[in-house]
């Protein structure tokens, strides 16, 4: 694999950067996320998390992977969507 191969498309994090984070001691997707921003962009790791896990596994054969901790909102939500809903009542049906 080339050094500049991109792993996280959204945040443009390369394989080299992820491997460096693993060398620095990261053992979980969440740690790599905080160190490199991989998985923090628009898609919220839905594309790259599996690639990062694969890199973790090949760097540490036999590793037990930590599960990811996705947090709400799962996709980008505009703040205006929350503001708009505050004026409506909870549970009103789709109009």
């Amino acid at each position: 694999m080339a050094d500049d191969n991109i792993i996280c498309r959204c945040e443009e994090v390369t394989e080299t950067e992820i491997l460096q984070a693993i060398k620095d001691g990261a053992v979980a997707f969440d740690e790599i996320k905080r160190l490199t921003r991989a998985g923090m962009g628009h898609c919220q790791g839905s594309t790259c998390s599996i690639l990062v896990d694969n890199l973790l596994r090949s760097a540490n054969p036999g590793i037990t992977l930590h599960k990811h901790t996705p947090r709400p909102p799962l996709q980008p939500v505009k703040l205006e969507a929350f503001v708009k809903s505050a004026s409506g009542s909870q549970g009103e049906a789709n109009e």
């Binding site: 498309r9 959204c10 443009e12 628009h42 898609c43």
Partner: protein, 97 residues
């Protein structure tokens, strides 16, 4: 490229409209995703990335990856794969700064 003849799929029936992409006018079917209209006119580039200034285009096609986002009628970050075409839309390649 539009698929003109097909044995199985039904023929498209919605209205043909015009949209503008980076100043160039193209034809599109009302209601189809903007990305479909772009692909039909062989436009593959949607945005340019922040760090590496790479060109990007539609990748997942279902509103997940965000690589197809463009500036539509002045609004940034519009997912073109899941936003329907409206007549007269002004669409621009999105450059991150």
């Amino acid at each position: 490229m539009r698929i003109s003849n097909h044995q199985i799929m039904p023929v498209k029936s919605s209205k043909l409209v015009k949209i503008q992409v980076d100043g160039k006018e193209i034809e599109a079917y009302e209601g189809e995703p903007i990305l479909a209209a772009l692909w039909a006119s062989e436009i593959l580039v949607c945005r340019e990335t922040e760090k590496l200034k790479e060109k990007r285009g539609g990748f997942c096609g279902i509103g997940r990856c965000g690589d197809c986002r463009m500036i539509v009628n002045g609004h940034r970050d519009v997912y073109t794969c899941s936003t329907p075409v409206e007549n007269g839309m002004i669409i621009k390649t999105q450059k991150e700064t």
